[in-house]
Amino acid sequence: MTIRSQSNAALRICFINGVLPLWRSPLLIAAQFLTPFSFLFFLFVIAPRSLFPFGVMGGLLFTALFAGSSMLTDCAYLRLERQFQQVFVASPVRPIAYIMGMALSELAFTAPAATVFFVILLVVVPVGLVGLVALIGIFLLTWLMATTLGFFVSTLFIQLRESWPIATLIFSLLSVIPPVFYPATEIPQNWQWVALLAPSTFSAQLADRAAGLGGTLTTGSLILNAPAFDVAMLVGITLLFGTAALFLSRWREP
C-alpha cells in the first residue's frame, strides 16, 4: 500500500472509531468536557482570578493529554476485548496507519472540548494570530505525543483491567501534577527542575509563552528557561514516543 492509501486507511479508521460513534452517541462528548471543566471550575472558585487564564490553558492541554489516556484504553480494549486490532494486523494496513487512525479518532472526540477551551482562552487572553497558530501547533504536538505514548503502552498489557489504572496513573502524572493548570512559578524554585521530568511541562511552558501568560520556569539556567529548549524537548519527546509506538510496540505478539 502506498503513502496515499495508508493515509486513506488512517482517515477511515478515524471515521469508524471516532466520527461514527460521535455522530450516533453525541453524549460521548460530555465525558471529554467533564474533567477539564471540573478542574477549571475548582480553580475558578478557590484560586485568585489572575490564575484563571492558566486554568483555561491547563484545560486546553488537558484535552490533548486526555486523548492519550483514551488512546491507551481504547487500543487495549480493541486488541484484548474485541480482538479488532488483529483484523488490521493481519492485513496490508501498516502500524502507522492504524496508530494515526486511532489517534485522529481520539482527536475527533477531543475537538469539541478543545474548541470551547480555545474560545474561552481567546476571550480571557488577547492572543494574536501568531499566538493562536502557535497554540494550535502546541496542542497538536501534545496530542501526538500523548496518543503515541498511549498506543505504545497499550500494547504491553495482556489483561484489559490493568490498562485502566495505568492510564489514569500516567495521564494524571502528565496533566494534574506538572504545571499545566497553574504557573510553574508556583513551584519553589529549588524544585522547579522536577517539573522538567514531565513532558507536558514543555507543552505548558510553550503554550503559556505563546499566550503571553508568563509564569514560566525560573530554574536559574538560561538553557532550561529558553523557549527553544521547550520546543526541542517537546518535539524530541514526541519523536521518541512516535518511534516507540512504531517500532517497539507489540504490533505482532512476541
Binding site: 469508524i16 455522530w23 474485541r82 480482538q83 479488532f84 488483529q86 493481519a90 492485513s91 505478539e253
Partner: protein, 304 residues
C-alpha cells in the same frame, strides 16, 4: 503450489514461571485453493497456529511461509495476501454491517465501486441485507459474528484465516456462511479455519488436520479420519441393552436414553437380530467425524 508451509514450528509461553508448550515441532503444508480445517480440543494449539500463520504472533522456533514469503521475517509481504477472523472477535459498537464491510474494504485499499459492490454481494449472500443498516449494538451476537465474517470474506484475500467463524450462529446462518466460504474458495482463495463443529469441518474441508497438545496427530480427508477408527458402523439402540453387553462388539457411548456402539460391519447382522429379539429400536449409520475425532484424540489421551 504450496500456499502455506510450516516446518518445525514451536511456541512456548511462560505463564509466571510455568512453561506451556502450545505448539511442538508442528509441520503442515496447505495447497493453494484448499479449504482446510484444523480440529482439536480447547487449548490444543489451533489458535496459536493460526495466529503465527497470520503474522499475529511470533513462534519460538521453526519456519512458516505463505505463498513462498517468510511469515516470520517478511510479514509485510504476507499481510498483503491475508485476512483474518479472530476468535471471538467483536465489532465496533456504533457501526452498521454495511459500513463495516465497506469501510474495511476501503481501508485495505479497494476502490469505492469495488467496496460498494462487494459489500452488497456479501451482505446478500450472508443473509444480512435486512440488517445492513442496523447499528451493531442493536444486533444479536450471531448477527454481529456474521457481519464480522462477511467483512473478512468480502476481501477475497488470497489466504483467509477463520478462527471459529460460525461460533454462536444458528444452523441456518451457519449454512449460509458455508456457502459463502465455498464461493470464496471457488474464486481462488485458500481458506484455513478452525472449528469445534465437526459437521462443519466435514461439510467444508477438502482436508483437515487434528492437533493435540501442540502436535499434528492427523492430516487427511474426513473419510480417511473415519477410516482410522477401525470401526466403520455406528449403531444406536434405545434402552434395553446394558453397556457391558455391547462392549465386546466395539466402543460404547452411553447417552441419556440410548446407547451408541461403534463397531465393524461384520457385527451388524448379529446385533440386529439380538435387538429384534428383545424389541429394542435400533438405527444403523456410518461413524460420524465427531466419533472418529473422539476416538483418535481419546486414544492419545489414554496413552499419555
Amino acid at each position: 503450489m504450496e500456499a502455506l508451509e510450516a516446518r518445525g514450528l514451536s511456541k512456548t509461553f511462560d505463564q509466571r514461571g510455568h512453561i506451556v508448550r502450545a505448539l511442538d515441532d508442528f509441520n503442515l503444508i496447505i495447497h493453494e485453493g484448499q479449504l482446510f480445517s484444523v480440529l482439536g480440543r480447547n487449548g490444543a494449539g489451533k489458535t496459536t497456529f493460526l495466529k503465527i500463520a497470520s503474522t499475529l504472533l511470533l513462534p519460538t522456533s521453526g519456519t512458516l511461509s505463505l505463498f513462498g514469503h517468510d511469515a516470520i521475517s517478511a510479514p509485510k509481504e504476507v499481510r498483503a495476501l491475508i485476512a483474518m477472523v479472530p476468535q471471538e472477535g467483536k465489532l465496533f459498537y456504533h457501526i452498521t454491517p454495511r459500513e463495516l464491510v465497506r469501510e474495511y474494504l476501503r481501508i485495505r485499499g479497494a476502490s469505492r465501486e469495488t467496496a460498494v459492490c462487494r459489500t452488497d454481494e456479501v451482505l446478500e449472500a450472508m443473509g444480512l441485507t435486512a440488517y445492513g443498516n442496523t447499528v451493531a449494538f442493536q444486533l444479536s451476537g450471531g448477527l454481529r459474528q456474521r457481519a464480522l465474517v462477511a467483512m473478512i470474506l468480502a476481501t477475497r484475500a488470497p489466504f483467509l484465516f477463520l478462527d471459529e467463524p460460525t461460533l454462536g450462529m444458528d444452523p441456518f446462518a451457519r449454512r449460509q456462511v458455508w456457502e459463502v466460504i465455498r464461493n470464496v474458495a471457488r474464486q481462488g482463495s485458500t481458506v484455513l479455519f478452525t472449528t469445534h463443529y465437526l459437521d462443519e469441518a466435514e461439510e467444508l474441508s477438502d482436508e483437515l488436520a487434528v492437533i493435540e497438545r501442540g502436535r499434528l496427530m492427523f492430516r487427511g480427508s474426513s473419510e480417511t479420519l473415519r477410516a482410522t477408527v477401525g470401526r466403520e458402523v455406528r449403531l444406536q439402540f434405545s434402552t434395553g441393552f446394558k453397556p457391558e453387553e455391547l462392549s465386546a462388539y466395539g466402543k460404547v457411548y452411553t447417552g441419556r436414553n440410548h446407547l451408541t456402539l461403534l463397531t465393524s460391519r461384520s457385527s451388524v447382522r448379529e446385533l440386529t437380530e439380538l435387538a429384534l429379539t428383545r424389541g429394542i429400536e435400533m438405527t444403523v449409520g456410518p461413524v460420524t467425524l465427531e466419533e472418529a475425532f473422539l476416538e483418535l484424540v481419546g486414544k492419545r489421551i489414554e496413552e499419555e
